[in-house]
Amino acid sequence: MISFKNVTKIYNPNTLALDNISFDIKEGEFVLIVGKSGAGKTTLMKLITKEEEPTQGEVVVNGLNLNIADENALNSLRRMTGTVFQDFRLINHKNVFENISYSMEVVGADDSEIKRDVPDVLEMVGLKEKFHSFPKQLSGGEKQRVAIARALIHRPKLILADEPTGNLDVYSIRDILDALLKVNQMGATIILATHNQSVVNFLQKRVITLENGKIIRDQEKGKFIL
């Protein structure tokens, strides 16, 4: 599903974010990317959606080499991906309903599907009462839940979640992780970047540990190791 081949990413002028990393992720896998702040987790996630381009090496997602992907192929890839951004990245001039339904509109869902699915996913993330609220009227945790709902609503084949539990309370974290596990069981590939020890230990999934831009561990059913 995803293949990193000798990928290096250097931000100008001389910040090395990823240093010659290679790994493969199979379809349907649930992979955790862990590491300290600045280890390169977010950069790795950005390379998968081509928000950033590698300085060296190549990233292949679902058979598509992102170095040579054209606009249409990239749009298709992004439509089959659900992304939870670390900084939420909600559309400020759209309300909660519109933010979530936008992902469905982009993939060409019918109005009837949107009206049926958006309330369901909002209920799942506990925001049914915030239907018409705008992002600036939400707390950090609420924004995060909207971002999660937006990433899940169109049933993507690939979910990228960058610190999706960073602003959530313990109960909400459990709900979100359960939802991700359920989606994974239904066949979606999930990559979750976190530095939350309890999340890693709870999930008992493959863990790739980054340090200073290098992969220092890649364990099946790994644990958080300090």
């Binding site: 890839l77 992004r78 089959m80 992304t83 951004f85 990245r89 001039h93 993939v107 060409g108 109005d111």
Partner: protein
């Protein structure tokens, strides 16, 4: 596809409503720009009015010797009409000239009495030659009256022509022609200048507005929206801004022309801007619509384009 257009249009209308403060700046700038652009159209109207007035005043009056026969005059009239540069040749007989003279001096008894003393008609027949409209924009190009005067000055006409008024009023005619040419030339320069100003003002305002959506455009692209799906609602906002700017501009122009008409008529020898606005309403409306909506849509599309590379 229909669903896609519906979503783009709906999203654009919602964005317009929610970002009304930002969009009202675009509407204002566009309205000012369109009003300036239309003022160039009014300058052109003023030019045409003055040019016509001047043309009605200029012309060569040819006075014939008293003994010249009507046949000779009509023959010359025909020869002149066959020239390509002549719009009209008006024949004024001795009798008509006398009647006009009497009408003009009807209040002056001494002149009328003098006419009675003279007995008979002392006034000559004449023709008034009017050249075709001169559309040349560049001052200093050939004056059609010089050529006509040269034609009439030929030896073969000297036995019948007594005098020509052209030489007496030549400098006035030339300066009037040059003045109207200058006005048109200036109008053209002003129009080009206004068009550039309008484009620059609208593009700058729209660019600033769209810039505030830079991050959101990036998010739209990252969730897989196509360039048109991102760009579309901004273009709809441009469309609505353009329509409203046209409406406000037309209302403004209507009010300004209505209240300024008496003064403008006084200083321009009769040019009525309000009537000109009314007569050319649809022309102005479609010109504004084409320019206003076109520029606003294009400016939005262009401003969004630079943020689409995510």
């Amino acid at each position: 596809m229909l669903n896609l257009f519906k979503r783009i249009f709906k999203s654009g209308l919602i964005n317009f409503k929610r970002q009304f403060a930002l969009n009202s700046a675009t509407i204002f700038v566009l309205m000012v720009g369109l009003t300036l652009l239309t003022s160039a159209f009014f300058i052109d109207g003023l030019y045409n009015f003055l040019h016509e007035s001047v043309q009605q005043k200029v012309g060569i009056s040819v006075y014939f010797k008293l003994e010249t026969s009507t046949d000779d005059i009509l023959k010359l009239q025909q020869e002149l009409k066959q020239r390509g540069d002549i719009k009209d040749v008006i024949y004024i007989s001795k009798e008509e000239a006398l009647q006009k003279f009497k009408d003009k001096h009807s209040y002056d008894d001494s002149i009328l009495k003098t006419l009675e003393i003279i007995e008979g008609n002392p006034l000559p027949s004449s023709i008034r030659v009017i050249a075709k409209q001169d559309d040349s924009l560049i001052p200093g190009t050939a004056n059609p009256y010089d050529e006509i005067a040269k034609f009439l000055k030929q030896d073969k006409y000297s036995p019948i022509i007594d005098q020509m008024s052209y030489y007496e009023t030549e400098s006035i005619i030339k300066s009037l022609i040059n003045l109207t040419r200058d006005i048109k030339f200036m109008g053209l320069i002003v129009a080009i200048f206004f068009v550039l100003i309008v484009i620059l003002m609208v593009f700058s305002t729209v660019r600033l507005t769209v810039r505030s959506f830079k991050e959101e455009i990036g998010v739209m692209k990252l969730v897989g929206a196509s360039n048109w799906f991102v760009r579309g609602p901004f273009m709809v906002v441009g469309f609505v801004c353009g329509i409203l700017a046209v409406l406000f501009s037309l209302i403004l122009i209507g009010c300004v022309t209505y209240f300024s008409t008496p003064k403008i008529m006084a200083i321009s020898s009769g040019f009525n801007p309000f009537m000109y606005f009314g007569n050319n309403f649809w022309k102005i409306f479609f010109m504004q619509l084409f320019a206003g909506v076109g520029i606003a849509i294009f400016a939005n599309a262009l401003a969004v384009k630079r943020y689409l590379k995510v």
